[in-house]
Amino acid sequence: MVKRQHRTDDGADSLQRVRAEAGAGRPSSEGATASTEAAEAAELAQLVARSQQGDANAFGQLYDRYQPEIVRYLVYRTGDPEAAEDLAQQVFLKAWQAIPRYEDRGVPFKAWLYRMAHNQMVDHFRTRRPTSDLEGVEVAEEAEAEARVLAAETHERLQAALGRLSEDHREVLVLRFLMEKSAREAGEIMGRQEVTLRGLQMRALQALRREIELSGGLS
């Protein structure tokens, strides 16, 4: 079989590169030194501390750093890019209000933002029609040609199966596969130990497999 090709655009990659968050990410890449990570962690801590003191410019930098990723997560979870943008604004507004109370007790700042985004998404669905997690997600240009014909129906069935999973199962699959978080990062976001998260993702895959089979398979 063919190994997976990366299908996000260059802009996304460059953003990710700039945004690597020290101390909370996956294992260090070859190019990232410990000193760089420490510097980034210190910079982040400083921005958070200044924001806690009411420095809007510092919070603006946090917004620039994390808003694109939070939007992407919310698009995956809501299936509605426009709603995701609006929800992200609300997330960051709440974060601005609540950041004086933020304490890093094993929950990195980014994980804290994700939890707020998750709660905002849940509130959103309390009063609105949920769509499949991935509806509305535009496939990157280069992927379209490859996937359009053969994969569209498969994706649709998979999305439908995902839509039938429990919230926890959907969340862990989106974080691990679509947001490409490590088990540790996903655990931080979901408030679970890494070992617990591994069990959760296994059960999520089992549930997904069951739902796929119940709907007659993917092909």
């Binding site: 990659d13 953003l15 949920p130 979901m190």
Partner: protein, 623 residues
């Protein structure tokens, strides 16, 4: 997978996973395989080839994983400059929530509402029960509350309530800092609690009243006394609390004090929302009184109040239309959320309502009806416990699309039905799937806790139904078990509108509900009593085609004559029907000489039946 720096290090694959216990080793293998598949470092076959002894177990899971890997991704883009500028302008005028280090540390002024572009403004303002936009808390009010808490103590039971943590964590204020509390902790007066950003928890008081705390909620148990009286007072500074006040023989004073108002209840279910000093109240059942200074406003079932400079009551608290589950037959139902909260009843007669947005009627008073309004979409579990042998029953699902029935034919002691809750096109939709006929021990620890606290005043449902003659249950169940050939002709009481998607349960009987006369009357009465939004429709469909000499008129007339409350509610429903000819006909046949001016036997209020009836019509009309 976006990992521009190059291949990831192999994720925490265990050293020698095969030496570890089976399940844990499999989890570790799958975890490592996910990393490899996502990064494109290995194919499915390559991963499986490394674990031939587990191939059979792993292959299906990794195939599912591979399907996830093949899903399309979206690119990230830098924030839109206009949106960013609007955001920065917004936070420039939005106060931050400072940690409570004494009242003096709180912000002391009210600030303006944040102004975004129209899409976000719509999201924020569209629904009064969307989370409130934060305003600064008035320091004086909080300071006054803080003083009251300190000075208002007195002898308090040491263990007035029990904390159940569903998700996340809960902190307790100790020596100026927040310390985590254990699930199951016993808490007394003076305890100040705060839920984490993902924290869901429940306080169960000694009388069985409960307060469900949403994430980022902060409150204090200011009073909790149960010696000869029942008195509970919560001081809620932030967040959302879903309060379920236990009914019972002993009068109760249940108050939630917020920075802006005091919400008082005597046996009801309501939600209090506080953010930055602004308060909103939603009454899900019964009635509460909202007090602000000298102003006192009753907020009835289905209404909302927003407390700003004054108390504003809204008749349309929700932007969604509700759905209902009606349980027919010798069963009592308990709905359980994934986090462990439950709304329903036990065979002992104990009723509880812990799930935000879901209420239930008392099954001892007739067919049990669960109402879904501002409920979180997701998967729930409905546990049906049998209270009498033999007979079958039905679950009626009433949504915008009409009413559908799912037969309950299993003869075991209990049955589990999966309930999928979604919100579609502004209405709650329910899908049911019968799961299994259950395990021996069906009680949860939480139900046992509530049952224990509330059992003093409870009377078993089966006893109360037997005392009431249980006509509905007997007829419904005998009907359901009678051979099909003996049953009366089935007609629909509700038909999905053209083009509308009916919501039959997966695997459930999609047959519309039968209008067998006695059952139709019972359903009508149930809808009127519980204030269902479809009550006017049901009244009209049930009564419209009846001949003048149909015995149902006499039966209904008797019921209305003997039950003043029902009569008042029926009149309120009648007023909502926009068909003067039909209303006149019903008035005449039921002896309601003039439904808009006739005094009602039990109104006990102004004596002005017209205004009372109008008020009632407003109360039930939340759709």
């Amino acid at each position: 997978m976006t990992n521009p720096e190059g291949p990831m290090e192999r994720s925490p694959m265990p050293q020698g996973p095969m030496e570890r216990p089976g399940a844990e080793a499999s989890e570790a293998i799958v975890d490592g395989a996910i990393d490899e598949l996502v990064a494109g470092r290995a194919t499915l076959e390559e991963v499986l080839a490394r674990h031939p002894e587990r191939r059979e177990e792993l292959a299906p899971l990794l195939e599912a994983a591979l399907a996830m890997v093949e899903l399309p991704r979206m690119a990230e883009r830098a924030p839109d400059p206009e949106r960013r500028a609007a955001f920065m302008a917004t936070i420039a005028g939005t106060p931050q929530e400072r940690p409570r280090e004494g009242a003096g540390a709180l912000p002391s002024r009210r600030l303006r509402w944040p102004m975004f572009g129209s899409p976000l403004a719509r999201l924020v303002f569209a629904n009064p029960f969307a989370r409130l936009v934060t305003l600064a808390a008035p320091a004086a009010a909080i300071a006054a509350v803080a003083v009251a808490i300190v000075l208002g103590g007195g002898a308090a039971p040491a263990t007035a309530s029990t904390l159940t943590i569903f998700e996340g964590s809960v902190g307790r204020l100790e020596d100026g800092g927040w310390r985590p509390i254990e699930d199951g902790a016993r808490l007394g007066e003076g305890e100040r609690l705060r839920t984490s950003v993902d924290g869901h928890a429940l306080l169960t008081f000694a009388d069985g009243s409960t307060a469900a705390l949403a994430p980022l909620t902060e409150l204090e148990i200011a009073r909790a006394r149960f010696a000869g009286t029942r008195e509970i007072e919560l001081v809620q500074d932030l967040g959302s609390v879903w309060n379920d006040v236990a009914p019972g023989g002993t009068p109760i004073e249940y108050r939630v004090r917020t920075p802006d108002a005091v919400v008082a209840a005597t046996g009801t279910t309501f939600e209090t929302l506080v953010e930055g000093g602004e308060t909103a109240v939603l009454t899900a059942s019964g009635s509460v009184e909202v007090r602000r200074g000298d102003e006192r406003v009753a907020v009835e079932s289905g209404q909302a109040a927003r407390v700003t400079d004054r108390v504003e009551v809204s008749d349309h608290p929700s932007s969604v239309r509700p759905a209902y589950l009606t349980v027919e037959g010798p069963f009592v139902a308990s709905l359980r959320a994934a986090d462990g909260a439950a709304t329903g009843a036990l065979p002992s007669g104990v009723v509880y309502q812990q799930i935000r947005g879901v209420t239930t009627t008392d099954p001892g008073e007739g067919p049990q009806v669960l109402r879904f309004l501002n409920v979180a979409p997701g998967r729930y579990e409905l546990l049906l416990r049998r209270i009498a042998d033999g007979a079958a029953g039905r679950l009626l699902v009433t949504t915008d699309a009409g009413t559908r029935a799912m037969p309950l034919t299993d003869l075991g002691p209990a049955l589990v039905v999966r309930v999928e809750v979604t919100v579609r096109d502004g209405a709650v939709a329910l899908a049911l799937v019968e799961e299994s006929a259950v395990r021996a021990d069906v009680d949860t620890a939480l139900e046992r806790l509530v049952a224990s606290a509330r059992s003093e005043d409870a009377v078993p449902v089966s006893d109360r139904r037997a005392a009431a003659g249980d006509v509905a249950t007997v007829e419904a169940t005998s009907e359901a078990t009678r051979p099909a050939s003996d049953r009366p002709e089935v007609t629909a009481t509700a038909t999905p509108p053209d083009g509308a998607e009916a919501t039959p349960a997966d695997g459930a009987d999609a047959t519309p509900v039968a209008t067998e006369p006695a059952r139709a009357l019972d359903e009508l009465i149930s809808a009127v009593r519980s204030g269902r939004d479809d009550a006017p429709l049901l009244v009209r469909r049930t009564l419209e085609g009846l001949g003048a000499d149909d015995p149902m008129w006499g039966r209904l007339r008797e019921l209305l004559a003997s039950d003043g409350e029902l009569r008042r509610e029926f009149v309120a429903v009648l007023i909502r029907i926009d068909d003067a000819g039909f209303v006149e006909m019903v008035q005449e046949r039921l002896g309601l000489v003039d439904a808009t001016s006739e005094p009602t036997p039990s109104d006990g209020g102004s004596g002005d039946a017209a205004s009372d009836a109008t008020a009632e019509a407003t109360r039930v009309g939340d759709g």
